[in-house]
């Protein structure tokens, strides 16, 4: 039987289940901690750091830290807000993100966080990395300019034998997302749609259906990112 524990976020007391990740415990209590690489049902990787919080005074990632009794979590402080904003800015300058013509605009988590943290002009210089596009798959258009290396697709989009359709290629600054060309040939429309949906940016695009969703019906058109969690605050 799961053990209930008490913890605080920004001084407010909540109850959660011992061992669940802080980000999930917070969400259950109506407190939104942003995520980009985290996805329910898969092992967390803690790679994007956007969920950084302070736990008992130390920086931790909320998506990988199990809840303990008496934890004091800081999330919405000025210092942490600025760190999260800086991470969003870094992700924007590292890739080539042009929201105006991106079909994920309005459905994009990174864009949503850009609005949430009121990013105006990034404090970092643009890298303008030149990344190739991969259009060879019959179902997926891989827009490498927008990949933020969250690994959601690598961890989640697999065939019946558990083999991943996506993988990282090269290392360090040359790191890029790639697709198994042989596997991709037999990808179903449903799986292609799932891959596009779990991608937090516009890196994975299902072919030939772009912009079918009208403006006004996209994920963040009416409800800004995080507002679904916050509206359930107890």
């Amino acid at each position: 039987m799961s053990e209930k524990v008490k913890f605080t976020i920004d001084g407010k007391e909540f109850e959660g289940t011992k061992g669940q990740f802080i980000v999930d415990a917070a969400a259950e209590n109506g407190v939104y901690i942003p995520v980009l690489c985290h996805w329910k049902d898969v092992t967390p990787s803690g790679s994007c750091r956007i969920c950084s919080v302070k736990v008992n005074g130390r920086f931790m990632t909320a998506c990988t830290t199990p809840l303990e009794d008496g934890m004091e979590v800081e999330s919405e402080t000025e210092e942490i807000q600025d760190i999260r904003k800086a991470i969003v800015e870094m992700l924007f300058v590292e890739g080539n993100h042009f929201c105006p013509a991106c079909e994920k605009s309005g459905d994009c988590d990174l864009q949503g966080l850009g609005y949430r943290y009121q990013m105006m002009v990034p404090r970092f210089p643009y890298a303008f990395e030149r990344r190739e596009l991969d259009a060879a798959s019959p179902k997926i258009f891989l827009e490498k300019n927008r990949c933020i290396f969250c690994k959601r697709c690598i961890r989640m989009i697999k065939d019946e034998q558990g083999k991943s359709y996506f993988a990282f290629k090269y290392r360090g600054k040359d790191l890029e997302i790639s697709m198994d060309k042989e596997l991709a040939k037999n990808m179903s429309e449903e799986l292609a749609q799932e891959a596009m949906d779990i991608c937090p940016v516009g890196a994975i695009l299902r072919k030939e259906v772009g912009f079918a969703k009208p403006i006004g019906t996209r994920k963040y058109d009416k409800m800004p990112i995080g507002s679904d969690v916050e509206s359930s605050q107890k």
């Binding site: 030939e208 259906v209 079918a212 403006i215």
Partner: protein
């Protein structure tokens, strides 16, 4: 001593341009040129992108008539996805796009007349430039200025309901449209509180036509003698010869009304149209191939459309069209400033079409997209507010765009605009001891008649060598760079 006068920037037009006027030692105008000094590279950077992105990406050329680019690109992609042209779409798909486009024509024409051109007519082209602007119009003619603003707003609302946003929407997708028109949206436009409803827009558009006609009666000599020269005229017309902004065949007439391009399929436009690059402008010079560079140039836009079509398929605009045609005894109208008259008749026609479409139940149906056998090349033509707009795309087997060619409305008017500024500067400035501000504004009035969108129109990438000369204070050449 020879002189060079520069008018920069040209004001109350979309985009950035400059005019240079060369005078000899006797103050005779030798040559006048309209230079387009900004640069766009959409034809190049759309390459490699997924084809379905083109209607959304390419419309970013412009914030004034992005709908035209959005729809021209979508029409070209209809061909690629096997939906064909024109009648290939579902009724809802085609009519929603039409509504979007006629809303766009309505707002753009209202913007041009009331915000950009009316200061010249209502306040005088030689009025003090400090008041010769939309603020001056608002102060002296507040009711008229309010109408101008609200007409534009109405057109923008039509776009909002069809494209999802007032500027840079996403409504048109290859093979159709991504939404229909809800009853609430329809009623907002059809039965909105006064004055924001389509009946009031038709009434105000009719008033605008009368406003120009009144001005014309009082200033007939000035209007008729201003940059009047014969030219060819080109536009799309519906297959039965009716005025149609969304779809049709290509027709061109010469200055006497003889058909020089006889209702050809625009998928073959490249067999009929060629573009020339000149080394002093980023804007190309199109012409009809079979007539050659010297005789094949043509005008596009409201004047050309009303010269090419046989009739207007809405009653109020048709009545005005008959008066317009009677003025030149049924022959093509080559008076530069009559373009405003033609534009306002089109404004009225757009409002009438919007009403017809709003009353059509097809707009509430759900059959939005059709697709067929995929191809790898498509051409989309549309009559944008400023004239015929050409989009041409090729894609590879991986769905990436490999080639894009855009011939933008203003580009089509390059030669006539240059002829107009040349004519006006010669008529107004030759032999004058002092070149006054009103004389310079007259040159701009000639440009404004074409309602040019200079930002859209510059596409000479890779074909025009960069040539920069650096001169010292005594005109000695210090450096010369050639790409």
């Amino acid at each position: 001593m020879a002189q060079k006068i520069t008018i920069e920037p040209v004001t109350r037009v979309e985009g950035h341009g400059k005019v240079t006027i060369h005078l000899d030692s006797k103050m005779n105008v030798q040559q006048t040129r309209l230079h387009i000094v900004e640069f766009r590279g959409f034809e190049r950077f759309v390459q490699g992108r997924p084809y379905w992105e083109a209607p959304v990406l390419v419309q970013r050329l412009c914030g004034i008539c992005p709908v035209s680019h959005h729809l021209a690109a979508a029409k070209a992609l209809d061909v690629i996805v096997g939906a064909g042209t024109g009648k290939g779409l579902t009724a809802t798909g085609e009519k929603m796009r039409r509504l979007m486009h006629y809303g766009q024509m309505f707002q753009s024409h209202a913007l041009h007349f009331f915000h950009l051109s009316s200061p010249d007519f209502l306040l005088g082209y030689d009025a003090d430039p400090a008041i010769r602007n939309v603020v001056g119009v608002a102060q002296k003619f507040p009711e008229l200025a309010t109408q101008g603003v609200l007409m534009r707003k109405f057109g923008q609302e039509v776009i909002n309901f069809t494209a999802g946003k007032k500027i840079h929407g996403t409504g048109a997708i290859p093979g159709g449209i991504n939404k229909n028109l809800s009853i609430e949206e329809r009623d907002f436009l059809l039965k909105g509180d006064d004055p924001m409803n389509v009946d009031k827009m038709i009434e105000w558009a009719g008033d605008a036509v009368n406003l120009f006609k009144d001005y014309y009666m009082q200033n007939r000599e000035f209007v008729d003698n201003f940059a009047h020269f014969p030219s060819n005229h080109l536009s799309l017309v519906r297959e039965d010869g009716a005025l149609d902004f969304y779809h049709g065949v290509m027709r061109a007439v010469d200055s006497e009304g003889n058909r020089v391009l006889d209702d050809v399929d625009y998928q073959d436009y490249y067999k009929h149209i060629e573009e020339e690059v000149k080394n002093w402008s980023y804007m190309k010079f199109p012409y009809m191939k079979h007539l050659g560079k010297d005789k094949g140039w043509y005008r596009v836009g409201p004047l050309a459309r009303l010269n090419c079509c046989d009739f207007i398929p809405t009653p109020k605009a048709q009545k005005e069209f008959e008066a317009f045609r009677a003025h030149t005894n049924g022959k093509p109208n080559n008076y530069c400033l009559h373009t405003h008259w033609a534009r306002l008749i089109e404004l009225l026609h757009s409002a009438e079409v919007i009403k017809e479409l709003l009353e059509d139940p097809d707009l509430q149906k759900d059959d939005l997209v059709v697709k067929g056998k995929k191809g790898n090349e498509g051409v989309g033509l549309i009559e944008a507010p400023r004239g015929t707009l050409f989009h041409h795309y090729k894609i590879n087997d991986d769905d990436q765009i490999t080639m894009a060619n855009l011939i933008v409305s203003t580009t089509n008017n390059n030669e006539p605009m240059n002829r107009s500024v040349n004519m006006v500067s010669k008529n107004m400035m030759t032999g004058k001891a002092v070149i006054t501000e009103p004389m310079k504004n007259a040159v701009e009035v000639a440009i404004r008649a074409y309602d040019p969108c200079l930002s859209c129109a510059t596409h000479a990438l890779g074909k025009m060598p960069l040539d920069i000369k650096l001169y010292g204070p005594d005109d000695e050449e210090l450096d010369h760079y050639k790409s």
